[in-house]
């Protein structure tokens, strides 16, 4: 049952070229990134992108169970993308859906190229993603956030991974589609890249795109990833400054006690 009614707009793009949430075509939603939000995890991160609220925890490198899955030459990366039952309008069954299984796979494959897995043979690195509220583009927001959680866990990486979905909405190519644009738009193209190396680690597409539209959308996605990369760097820096301040404070306290 839907008790909270969400209005479906007549048009996804107004005559003034504004989107349902007031954005221009090439604008990202407001993004909030936080690193190191969970106490017990080895690394963690939180992202809000529009109304998306997603938490990621990284555990590892750690001993792998069941042990027969262990790889002799590198760590096994495992990724679990799950949506909370209350994250969408119609309650989602907590059992993993086929969609969640596919997304777990493509998210894993989007992150894997960035990690030096060969440094940790026979171990597991587990990435747990909980989508607490979904608002379109959750797989990309998950990747953006998971890259930060991996960095927070101190796992050596070649690069971060930044992701964003572009869409085709009322015939326009737009950046970072929201839930309404995803549901009622004509196409969706989630893209992830390693921003310094300019390598694509995820690309998926649905809808109908001419080759020209595809190229326009793909280039827009790369620009969007670039912007997200800057936000990721700032979030990481902020976390490191916090750690430094905390360490300085603790050292000060220790000095007083002796």
């Amino acid at each position: 049952m839907k008790f909270i009614k969400h209005e479906i707009p007549q048009k996804l793009i107004t005559e003034d070229g504004l989107r349902t949430d007031g954005r221009r075509f090439h604008e990202l939603r407001p993004i909030k990134l936080e690193v190191g939000i969970l106490k017990r995890a080895d690394g963690s991160a939180y992202i809000e992108q529009g109304r998306n609220k997603i938490m990621v925890a990284v555990y590892g490198p750690r001993e792998l169970h069941p042990r027969h899955l262990a790889l002799p030459d590198k760590a096994l990366l495992r990724c679990f993308y799950r949506m909370a039952s209350f994250s969408v309008e119609d309650r989602k069954s907590p059992a993993p859906s086929r969609r969640e299984i596919e997304l777990s796979k493509v998210i894993r494959e989007a992150l894997e190229p960035a990690i030096f897995l060969e440094r940790f043979p026979k171990t597991a690195i587990d990435v747990f993603i909980e989508v607490l509220q979904a608002d379109g583009g959750t797989r990309c927001a998950s990747i953006t956030s998971a890259a930060l959680a991996l960095a927070d866990a101190g796992i050596p990486m070649r690069d971060l991974v930044s992701a964003v979905a572009v869409g085709k909405v009322d015939g326009h190519i737009v950046l970072d589609i929201n839930d309404l644009e995803d549901k009622y738009g004509e196409g969706d193209m989630p893209t992830a890249m390693m921003p310094r190396k300019k390598e694509v680690t995820l690309i998926q597409l649905d809808g109908q795109w001419s080759i020209e539209e595809f190229k326009q959308g793909f280039e827009l996605a790369l620009k969007g990833c670039e912007q997200i990369y800057q936000l990721q760097r700032e979030a990481l820096k902020k976390r490191y400054i916090e750690i430094r301040e905390q360490a300085a404070k603790e050292m000060g306290e220790n000095a007083e006690n002796t």
């Binding site: 493509v106 494959e109 694509v200 597409l205 795109w209």
Partner: protein
Amino acid sequence: MQKIHKIASEIEKDSIISLAEKGKRLDGRGLEDFREVTIEAGVIEKAEGSAYVTLGDTKIMAGVKLEIGEPFPDTPDKGVFTVNAEFVPLASPVFEPGPPDEDAIELARVIDRGIRESEAIDLEKLCIIPGEKVWIAFIDIYILDHAGNLFDASTLGSITALLNTKMPEVKVENGEVKILDKLVSFPIRKIPVSVTFAKINDKLVVDPCIEEEHVMNARLTITMDENDNIVAMQKGGAGTLKTEDIYKAIEIAKVKTKELREKIPRGVSNG
């Protein structure tokens, strides 16, 4: 959970890579050549539609079964279809009995996307009583011999099986659905076809065989309709792609999808 079976011997890996650098492949093909394709429609009499596809040594069977059921509440005037893939253990030493794993789910969902996004099936023609009764088409893909590139073999098999599908005419009398003896064609209006690439070192190869899949860095599947629209795309594998790779793959896919589409048997067959 992912399967940990993608292990190739170093010698094989080296030879595939060094061949690719020279523009050659293990089986003598050029980098942009498909293996031989055969497509046979209507091979399973008990299915409403079926197709048997071979792509080199890869063999798959696709079947369509129809049922009458309820539509989704948000699309009361449209029929329903689902795609499912079965990686049965006879097809590969690494396939095990059990429910579909992530590879089977990914395959089915990419095939589904190509059919759904190209609007290949005229779903409104599958409506019998709006909001109550519609046709539901189950497209099941059985992998019989996994010698690489299941994506393209399965796309060809699914769309051929749909083109081959016959459904009975129905009549609604006092809210009851009556099934008539007359058979009509299933409403297909587009023919999506996919082309899959493997990136081996910095070379793209079309229609990878299983040995190439074992050593590839990344995979890219592009599905196009007959108007050269891209209707589905999926990157797979733990490696990366460059922008140039993707653009080049699209240009190749534009040509190859046309060639493959020509091979699909149309019209009435024995199904």
